[in-house]
């Protein structure tokens, strides 16, 4: 029996992950609410990046990677044999730590690339989607005259917004962000943070960050991870103001990390 809860977009059930013999995730049970921002915090190496890479089946691309347990998207296990990982990655988009626009493609093609894979033809319709996606990330005004220039010709912050536009051009349901601001300056970071808050109107966002202020600024829910385990999960307010677990409290108050 599947239980479908429209409030829950994604859910992990006893999720374990390994790199070779090394276990990096231990029995993760996490519920991600629809149209919210969920932040995943924790010290380096705690498995937060691996966790979100399990949510769109990117983890398995690494040789020797192994996963057990379930990740459900709208109540269905994305690791089911009949599920095509390509479809999952279209429904669950991703933005990476370092901006990685495609250097051989123009700004326009960077945004259109995913749609072209699905057979979209050049033309007005595609132009509209590209424009709309760039507008959503507030990049349109900055690049509208340079759409034919390479995706790497703009600044780092712009590149990261371009990567977000590339993800939302596919109209995903969930957007995963893996420390999207760690390579950016404070002004570019502020822009991305504002964007994250806006994105939750249309999408469900999961953001990994090592910056606790960022987590408290942008997220509705926060998950604290330590050594591969999910230590505490709750509303961001609760986690930051009245953490139940001692480890969480220590981490948030900066005693370690």
């Amino acid at each position: 029996m599947k239980t479908i809860d429209s409030e829950i977009k994604m859910q992990t059930k006893d999720l374990n992950a390994w790199f070779g013999a090394k276990q990096v995730l231990k029995d993760i049970n996490l519920k991600i609410q629809t149209n919210t921002v969920t932040a995943i915090i924790g010290p380096s190496g705690c498995g937060k990046s691996t966790l979100i890479r399990c949510l769109n089946r990117m983890h398995e691309l690494i040789p020797n990677a192994k996963i057990t347990g379930q990740v459900q998207l709208d109540g269905e296990d994305i690791f089911d044999k009949q599920v095509d990982p390509v479809q999952i990655r279209r429904r669950v988009g991703m933005v990476f730590q370092k901006p990685n626009p495609f250097p051989t493609m123009s700004i326009y093609d960077n945004v259109a690339a995913g749609l072209k894979l699905t057979g979209a033809k050049k033309g007005k319709h595609l132009d509209e989607i590209v424009k709309h996606s760039l507008e959503q990330v507030t990049l349109w005004e900055e690049v509208k005259d340079d759409l034919k220039k390479p995706g790497t010709s703009i600044s780092g912050g712009q590149q990261q917004r371009l990567c977000i536009a590339r993800a939302i051009a596919l109209h995903p349901e969930v957007i995963l962000m893996d420390e999207p601001c760690s390579a950016l300056d404070p002004i570019a970071t502020a822009k991305i943070e504002r964007l994250v808050v806006e994105l939750k109107r249309d999408y469900t966002v999961v953001i990994v960050t090592h910056n606790m202020q960022q987590a408290s600024r942008v997220s509705d829910y926060t998950a604290f991870m330590y050594l591969g385990s999910l230590i505490e999960f709750g509303s961001t307010k609760d986690i930051f103001e009245s953490p139940k677990n001692q480890l969480t409290e220590k981490y948030i108050t900066g005693e370690f990390g």
Binding site: R89, R90, F96, N100, F102
Partner: protein, 281 residues
């Protein structure tokens, strides 16, 4: 070399490049390089047609698909192909490969497509096609190992970006990896071409060694001659000073073409690695 070719160029001028005759008999001497230039172009072209897809396949397999334990031995085997002396390729071509070509390629082609001029003539195996095919195998180590380097140099962040927008493995390879490495791969192909153009011994052993108008390529099943094989076959037996000069002249053309190809290839490969350095920032 330039001074060595002055006599023949002075004697025949432009005809040295456009004629087809080759007659070393004293008093009736006439020499033209065109058939051998064409022979080189045709055999090298066949070599690329055969060798490049194989090499790219090997390179892509090694970097993108092969399990780790196969990567090293296969890479080593491919590089071993480069260690085989070319006279061994020639012998193998003469006694083994030639008959495969006759049985599996030339006979079917001439049976069904014999009406096409390029497949006319009887399948004999000592011809442009066999020479080109041998060259195709000989360029594999060059093209495959360089392409492998180029493909390995494609940053993983690009592959991940492509996967994250729903590209399949094959699409990632086709639209991202190859497109990112295309000028480097092109450079590798050009270096392979350089190798094919200059290769002498193996070609001389299987190409049939025609001279004069008969060496002008019209059919793939025809005996021919490349610039390199012509010099190897004839130079030692050259008698008159004009004939010697003719070989030197052919050598000069070969040298210029090879230089041009190699310099071009290196320019291309270095350009890729430069672009790579600054690609993300």
């Amino acid at each position: 070399m330039v001074s060595g070719s002055i006599p023949v160029l002075g004697e025949f001028g432009f005809d040295f490049f456009v004629g087809t005759a080759w007659n070393p008999v004293e008093g009736r001497e006439i020499f033209s390089a065109l058939p051998y230039v064409m022979g080189t172009l045709v055999t090298s072209g066949i070599a690329l047609l055969i060798g490049v897809p194989l090499s790219l396949g090997i390179a892509i397999f090694l970097v993108e698909m092969s399990p780790k334990f196969l990567r090293v031995p296969i890479g080593y085997l491919v590089e071993l192909l480069a260690a085989v002396p070319s006279v061994i390729y020639g012998l193998w071509g003469l006694f083994v490969f030639r008959f495969w070509i006759i049985d599996y390629i030339e006979i079917p082609l001439s049976t069904y497509f014999g009406w096409l001029p390029i497949f006319s003539g009887s399948p004999f195996g000592l011809d442009l096609l066999t020479a080109g095919a041998i060259l195709g195998i000989m360029i594999i180590p060059t093209v495959a190992s360089l392409s492998k380097e180029v493909i390995s140099a494609v940053p993983n962040s690009i592959r991940e970006g492509a996967y994250s927008i729903g590209a399949t493995k094959w699409e990632v390879i086709r639209h991202w990896v190859i497109s990112y490495g295309r000028s480097g791969i092109f450079g590798a192909v050009i270096l392979g071409l350089g190798r094919a153009v200059g290769e002498t011994m193996a070609v001389a052993m299987v190409i049939g060694n025609a001279t004069g108008p008969a060496a002008m390529p019209t059919s793939l099943f025809q005996t021919g001659q490349t610039m390199a094989s012509l010099i190897a076959n004839g130079f030692l037996e050259a008698t008159g000073p004009l004939e010697v000069s003719a070989y030197v002249g052919v050598g000069l053309i070969l040298l210029l073409i090879s230089l041009f190809i190699n310099v071009g290839a290196h320019l291309m490969i270095t350009r890729v690695f430069k672009v790579k350095g600054g690609a993300i920032e």
